[in-house]
Symmetry: D2
Subunit: 484 residues, 4 copies
């Protein structure tokens, strides 16, 4: 691992100069700009844990390509233990950052691509796996951060890729040359994009025969010519500057992963970085495997976040003198219950993992979908409980400026105090943390990250084995089963 | 009504010069400061409707004190029709502002005080009603906005008012003189305070005998000496300036009512403005009636908001080409269903209204509590559904600056377009509106405004007539009922 | 009212001799057969209350046809007060019987038919209203019980009435003669049919032009030639005999209304009893109005039932020594909360009632649908809470035979005792009541009576005024509204 | 395994002659009496699978005591794989019986006792493990069925064991002799008791020092002198006879496990069958481990049941012609989703299993509690969805006698038909199955089996590590953590 820790990771980003815009202006240094620095710090934690004796075993793995120690985020899962360690790693990272640390997206992209290109090669006689292994070895050795880039803008969603008025609504090949291809389009909601090194482009959905130019997997440096990133707004993003620390809620880390649009305006991709080109018959599998891995993660990282939120709420009720009320304990119990229900599915879909023909391990897809589906419900409910317990003042609290004002600071200090012995500032900090974790962007991310709720329901129905279940019912009742 | 319309109301606020702080600085003109102006405009709508032929019947009433036409927000309910008209008025105002228009708080305070001071006078031989009528006639004739001020900071909530280390954690009398009294303390979460004319101070909870100095009702001008207001932060408040219109979501109106701390530092209150002083035996009734009226409102104004949100989501799904999907229609149905369930309780608790001894009408308190309890649940669920249908881009959308950027505006324009014929800007506006209505402060307000969920549960249990219900069960089973 | 009380009603049933089957055998006397007698007694309560001074005002009305005092269950609603009184009457009856007392179905049929035939006459120049008034006057004066008969078997539900393989899957005219018509088909789930005097046949859904023979409203005596009733099974129906009183749960009353199939095998209907024949354009309105009235009722009668259930559970927790546990109080609070939420919609849809052209009053249809939709959810949840609080023994309790056994009665007596002073038998009675009210038929009835959940959702979406709501959102954002 | 299959198991029960009462009469042969035979058949399935090549690997294990092949239901878990195989076995059995097969209770009792008596011996120098191993080897070799007997009647639950007016409300030692002890009391809700061979008596809760006589673990043959069983009533139990097959729903298997009261009237227990006597310090651990194992099971067996229910509902919608409606597919999806959420926790708590000092493996207790907690909610919701989709006719269906009646059978046949080609009888059978699986006893069992909901919540709160979570929040905010 060339990048050995958070500091080296951050330094590496300073060397890269991707074209990033935010609020109409270019961001020159993502590691220092107040809008992006919190996200850089969260991703840096994935580097830091590899050196932490408490977590090294979770945060690193042994490459099956080289035998060298690598970041787990660049590893291809070889067994169930790998899948479970990943889950535990994500929960720890969630606990330490209380936000999205972004790096699992590329990890899932790597795993989905690895197993699928193996199968493409088997069927079509291509040599994608060899190319991919070469690229992946480099990623592992350099310890680079990869953004898994799947979601296209999609324009009019009642129409498929090939039927859009504007063909660029889905990323596609606009020219093929001997040494590579030229692509155009955009990917949106790209978590961690502005502080990644590489983009792993994947199709956004299963493609039909008419959409060969959209059946595309390739790797592109974030700072490649023609690549433009536009960093999205987040809840209360304007509170972030270099002075105002309390009101942002999480002073060191962002609300979510830091999402960006990545626009590709005729970007050239050399041949050795192309891992799928036109094999529409494998687009469904790729999306499906990526999605399943990614959905499995949400019961782990979000669980880590909710651990922090539960702790914050518990502490606040202590400060406010309400911690022992029976309804308070009951609501905290419910927060834990929902949180651990989510975690169950992450662990279970890993424990029920299975090897693909390539040797890479997949999670149980039903349980992974169930996991994410519950996240889309429970995060709102946990937020609701947290807001209930925190009290209305998280919505009406004066700013840090007021707390520190010479004229009225004494009033804020006095009237937001709690039990004896805890500084008002601590109460306010906790309140701002809860505010940041229960509103706006954070909840939207839990809803739509790794696929919107309906995407999971479609898979749950499809994998529900209704025929088998109908046979079970018939068998119990002595109703003849056809073909049996 | 001296103040005849929104413009006159706004002008009146410019004449008053209350001491308001926000982010550490004084606000000189609430009607023009970007943080407060949206709230002023929402309150102004309560004045405007009185002149709108479509709504005049809802927005005005005939004073039982003077026979003159007055704003309904200064009216004492005389019958069930009054209660129902208020509900309808609130829903319309919610539909027109998509936010809190603040004025019902004072209205509920007026109604609670009117009926309770009548009963105090009956029992204790005081003359509060006569004082109150005089003040109220002036409010009606001038058409002033009153902030109903109930919630104290409370400090350590495991202790009662009299047991706080700092006696100022509850507003109390510090000195009594022949011509009035001096009070100290603060009220927090004061909706509409910065753009009201008068403060109606009420106790925050039932007081015991030891807390006579806390059993206090009085009226104080917002700009009285010793009164300081500190305006609280809201979600995305920093997006509000005089240029950035789209990203705030609701360009004309605020996220919520605009809450402030009101600190009273030894404020003098003349005798004729004191409506309760030490009658602890009536504090419970006052709080209870205020709370019941206020809880009844939430199924009306929030319903109006949710009408807007439902419309916004429906329109967005049309733009995105998903409006006809069965799961989309089902989720919209659910939004409407929950919304109308809330409305049911507002209407029902009014239809079951009853006269107090003073002649002022009360709502059915059980149904009013049920109403608010559901708001604390359904607003989150409706927000969750709206976020689901809107899609992840409401959390990752670039800013208006990017949309208008010469360098990258074309990318935002292109990649956030929807179905043919609808400008990208419309899609973005709708998205920002949904973002503003589903996150942060807006939800906290629905949770805690008019009392936190547990407050309603305590009342629901208390009013549940379990003894009667046990008798019903026993009667069915032939089990003897004692005393019958 | 010829039938003045419950005893006269019961006697009248003994004079009628409808053809009723149950478990393969004919029931000779519905008033004495253990399967049907409990349902007769519940319906008799509707007669009894008319003589009870406490409830007379609710249980009777003044006929607008004759000016005579009649049972409210035969009354055409003339105003909002009528609608609200009906709701209160239903809740009282639910409290007194803890079951379905059946008579509202015919009442709703009468009201729907009255207002719709008025409009048919207006449009088509028919004389249905005159016929209907004559029949109704007789019903009012005799004080007869009418079963509103709407639901057809429907066969293959992917096909409409006219497309069924078997035309009899929907009731239809098979022959028209000068003096009347002959009909064939069946109505299923017919609440109260076996102990009614008259059947009011109505179409089960909106009919298209091809289905003229299915567009049919008429009145038929329950004991008319060609009419056969088959009484359905209910949960634990075999526990009903003439000795075993405790194990049935509700000794005097049934689990639900007592539903039957009514088969019409070429039944002749005289012309004066035909109130619609072929006017397909009014079938939708008829179904819609019947359904709305009926859905409004469910938040009233079921609320009465849940009052009993809440009382039973509360008493049981007292007997078991758990009543003061905080989680017990919280669950009881939730039962009350859900119950009163339902009641809200029944009251609200009545308070928002409106006059049809005929003068008959309709409920607000949106709120009535919302009401029933919530019943389909909340009754299960209330049952779940009741089962939680009651404890597992309601599912494992030995029978009354064991309690009374010489050999082992002492063991049952000993090991099912609770707190000191309450006989074990009381605890067991309460447990059996809760068992009867939380399982099986009772819950299915709340789900599907007055229309299955999806039927309400279709109406809620249709009446949701999405266009208006979209305009509200656009107005707030300054987006131009077409045609405005 | 001496008992090699279901037939031998059944035969063994015929040799035993326990004293069983039901509806006031003695049951002479549990294998033939209609009330108990269905439960015997379900338990027999646990024997049958051991010979089924498809399931042998799940249904058997290798004894760590003897190295011989044994039923998994008599096995002490040695590793995570054992825990997971148990879960899969339970789901299969649930799918094949659609009911409780009872045998896991004794299995969990064996595992809890094994690990705890090891620790007692370590601390107190007793020789319980040696006694227990001897008994267990015999159970394994004979392949006997053991009922794990924990729940005491408890009398007045506001009082502890030692404070009951009647000391027998908890099973206790009434006399100690050199060769053993005499016990008195009862266990209630005893699943599978009437068709087990042995009773493993355990304390019902943690006992304090004053309750030494209640700290008792021992094994007693079901047919021992002084043991009386009273078999409880179940929903629709009277439909069970030897002719009426359809109306019972599940013709071969019972509604639930078949619960009984076991009364011990001065039963003598020889010393070698006593495994705890007075070690109150270990009662908490025993209850806790038993409960955790048992709670883990509920996400497995119930999942199997719900698979059948989902299949039944799906098939019924096909018969009724509604299977393709979008709301039907959505509700089926939800049934699967909830079902797999439950399964997740069963798998996860096993995958996170850990070795006790004895070498026996425990499940993760947090996730096991979470599992059961969800069962208490989801089974009701799944039942609600099933009832919704099935339609109202499951509550109004005529009996099999009517279907087969010469007079009216043709009407039932005609009016309960569905799509072409499926016999009406199949539709009715499916309806009765759904009726049996969604009402009454079945739901109560899911609520209270393995502990009532509040018991899980207490554990979830206790194991929630709030201190750690508070430290996480403080760390993020830079708030000093004491002692760090």
């Amino acid at each position: 691992m060339k990048l050995k820790n958070g500091a080296e990771y951050i330094e590496s980003l300073r060397q890269s100069h991707p074209l990033i815009y935010y609020k109409g202006k270019r961001i020159e240094d993502v590691t220092r700009h107040p809008a992006t620095a919190p996200h850089v710090r969260a991703a840096a934690m994935t580097y830091a844990l590899a050196n932490d004796n408490d977590y090294k075993d979770l945060a690193t793995a042994t490459s099956h390509l080289t035998g060298r120690t690598i970041s787990r985020f660049t590893h291809v899962h070889r067994n169930i233990e790998d899948l479970i360690k990943k889950i535990k790693l994500l929960r720890v990272l969630g606990q330490k950052t209380a936000t999205c640390f972004q790096r699992c997206v590329g990890h899932d992209g790597i795993n989905a691509t690895y197993s699928v290109v193996y199968e493409i090669d088997q069927k079509h006689g291509t040599d994608y796996l060899q190319r991919f292994k070469k690229w992946l070895t480099w990623i592992q050795d350099e310890n680079l951060m990869v953004v898994g880039a799947m979601t296209d803008p999609k324009g009019d969603r009642s129409k498929s890729a090939a039927d859009q008025l504007d063909p660029d609504q889905y990323v596609h090949v606009v020219e093929r040359r001997g040494d590579g291809m030229v692509i155009r389009g955009a990917k949106i909601h790209m978590t961690g994009a502005v502080n990644s090194h590489e983009i792993l482009v994947m199709p956004t959905s299963a493609m039909d025969e008419r959409s060969r130019d959209y059946a595309l997997v390739c790797a592109i440096p974030v700072n490649a010519p023609g690549v433009t990133l536009i960093f999205g707004r987040q809840a209360n993003d304007d509170r972030r500057d270099n002075r105002e620390r309390i009101d942002v809620g999480k002073p060191s880390f962002g609300a979510v992963g830091g999402e960006a649009v990545i626009a590709f305006e005729d970007v050239f991709v050399p041949k050795e970085r192309v891992f799928m080109d036109g094999e529409t018959d494998f687009t469904g599998a790729l999306v499906y495997r990526f999605a399943a891995h990614h959905r499995a993660n949400y019961g782990a990282c979000k669980t880590g976040l909710m651990d922090v939120l539960t702790g914050a709420v518990s502490y606040l009720t202590q400060i406010q003198g309400t911690a022992k009320a029976s309804h308070v304990r009951d609501k905290v119990t419910e927060m834990i219950h929902l949180c651990e229900t989510l975690y169950s599915s992450s662990i279970a879909c890993s424990a029920e993992g299975w090897p693909t023909p390539s040797g890479a391990y997949m999670v149980d897809t039903m349980l992974a979908n169930v996991c994410k589906q519950n996240v889309t419900r429970f995060h709102f409910e946990i937020a609701r409980l947290a807001v209930d317990l925190a009290g209305g003042f998280i919505a009406t609290l004066p700013s840090q400026y007021d707390l520190e004002s010479e004229e009225i600071g004494h009033l804020v200090e006095k009237y937001f105090s709690g039990v004896k012995g805890v500084p008002t500032k601590h109460r306010i900090k906790i309140a701002r943390l809860i505010e940041a974790m229960t509103g706006g962007t954070a909840l939207v991310e839990s809803m739509h990250g790794a696929g919107s709720p309906q995407a999971q329901r479609v898979m749950i129905f499809r994998e529900g084995q209704l025929d088998k279940k109908i046979r079970l019912a018939k068998a119990l009742l002595g109703i003849p089963v056809k073909g049996k």
